[in-house]
């Protein structure tokens, strides 16, 4: 056999390489069945639609964990980087209703009490989750600007609507340089690419 093959170099080369490829293909095929990792296919499909920015704005450590949570029944509108397009695609995939984005984009702001109109009812003090409002019953209230998180929870309870949300102006101390954006970066999200509907 070997003597025959050494005399026919071409045949030997074909058989050797073909045989190698066949054996390796068999090993890999066997391994892919034997060492198959069970994963939820729907999780992968959802994960493909998410932007993969791994920003954690949804409250999960990354896109894959959020995809797993969606598969378990989590809301689909938690992804600010994906925006409306991603929600639309997720709704199509999961056959659920489209919902507006949960985390709407808002300017950082602080609460401001128009002190002339304040009646001192203390309702905003009870509402404030971070104790950023000072005051007592029938005394004028005021907001500690550095403590206020801009959560907007105090505006609703106020009976005289004397609380405004004032945007924080950029000063020399708070200004920072925006990272440059290239066209490639704005195309990062799968659902941004035109005509690609998974």
């Amino acid at each position: 056999m070997i003597e025959f093959l050494t005399e026919n170099a071409l045949l030997a080369a074909l058989i050797a390489l073909g045989g190698l490829a066949l054996v390796f293909g068999g090993i890999l095929g066997f391994a892919s069945v034997k060492f198959k990792v069970e994963g939820n296919p729907i999780v992968d499909q959802i994960n493909d639609l998410l932007p993969q920015t791994q920003c954690g704005q949804c409250g999960f450590p990354g896109c894959k964990p959020y995809a797993e949570a969606i598969a378990d029944g989590e809301e689909i509108n938690r992804c600010p980087p994906g925006g409306e397009a991603t929600i639309q695609h997720l709704a199509d995939l999961l056959d659920v209703e489209v919902k507006p984005l949960d985390a709407e984009e808002k300017v950082p702001s602080v609460a401001f009490i128009r002190e002339a109109e304040c009646i001192g009812c203390t309702k905003c003090i009870q509402a404030c989750p971070v104790d950023a409002i000072l005051g007592a019953a029938k005394q004028m209230h005021t907001v500690i600007g550095s403590e206020c998180t801009g959560c907007d929870l105090c505006t609703d309870p106020c009976p005289v609507d004397c609380i405004d949300m004032v945007p924080i102006e950029t000063t020399m101390q708070t200004w920072h340089w925006d990272l440059p954006k290239t066209p490639a970066q704005s195309q990062l999200i799968a659902t941004d690419r035109k005509g690609e509907v998974a």
Partner: protein
């Protein structure tokens, strides 16, 4: 015997270091040395694959190619062997140790195209190493690769916060650093005479 093997090992790690002396596997050396953590992950994955691949390609050459007189097919069959070893390793690791798979993760498939892996396989044949020598040489090459990759990554982490002149920032200072490291490793030549 033991002495010969330890000489071979030291020679592969320091004297004939694959990255800094033979200039093989430079792409991962420049590519994944940005952070120490990823460099360690890459080193571990490469060590594993390089050792395994050098043994497997030795076996392929000795038992399939050499008896048939097909030595001219070495390159293509070694690439085949390396690709299969890498892919198989990835599957097994993924199944048996999800934690290790997370650490090695993206680096495992990248190694397929690491020229140091093919280089070791071909050098083993050129230098007519036997089975044990191939194993030691492959492991030594991988240890040398890991050593310089981790050293270089640590340096680049320092460089990231250093006050580098504007014209040298980024890739330029990395290249200069790599060159200086290479010069330093040249100092090992003559340490071991094989």
């Amino acid at each position: 015997m033991i002495q010969d093997l330890s000489f071979l090992f030291i020679s592969a790690v320091l004297v004939n270091n694959f990255v800094l002396v033979q200039f093989l596997g430079l792409c991962p050396f420049m590519g994944v040395s940005g952070k120490l953590e990823t460099a360690i992950g890459m080193s571990a994955a490469t060590t594993f694959v390089l050792t395994l691949a050098s043994v497997c390609s030795y076996l392929t050459n000795t038992f399939i190619l050499a008896p048939l007189g097909l030595e001219y097919l070495q390159t293509i069959s070694f690439i085949l062997v390396i690709a299969v070893v890498v892919q198989f390793t990835e599957m097994v690791v993924h199944k048996t140790s999800p934690l290790l798979h997370k650490v090695l993760g993206v680096f495992l498939p990248l190694i397929t195209t690491n020229c140091a892996v093919l280089g070791v396989a071909l050098l083993n044949i050129n230098k007519e190493h036997n089975f044990v020598e191939s194993l030691i040489f492959g492991f030594g090459a991988a240890a040398g690769f890991s050593l310089v990759l981790v050293l270089f990554a640590a340096m680049r982490e320092r460089l990231a916060v250093a006050d580098v002149p504007k014209s040298f920032q980024g890739a330029a200072i990395s290249m200069v650093t790599a060159g200086l490291m290479s010069l330093a490793f040249m100092g090992f030549s003559g340490l071991v005479q094989l």
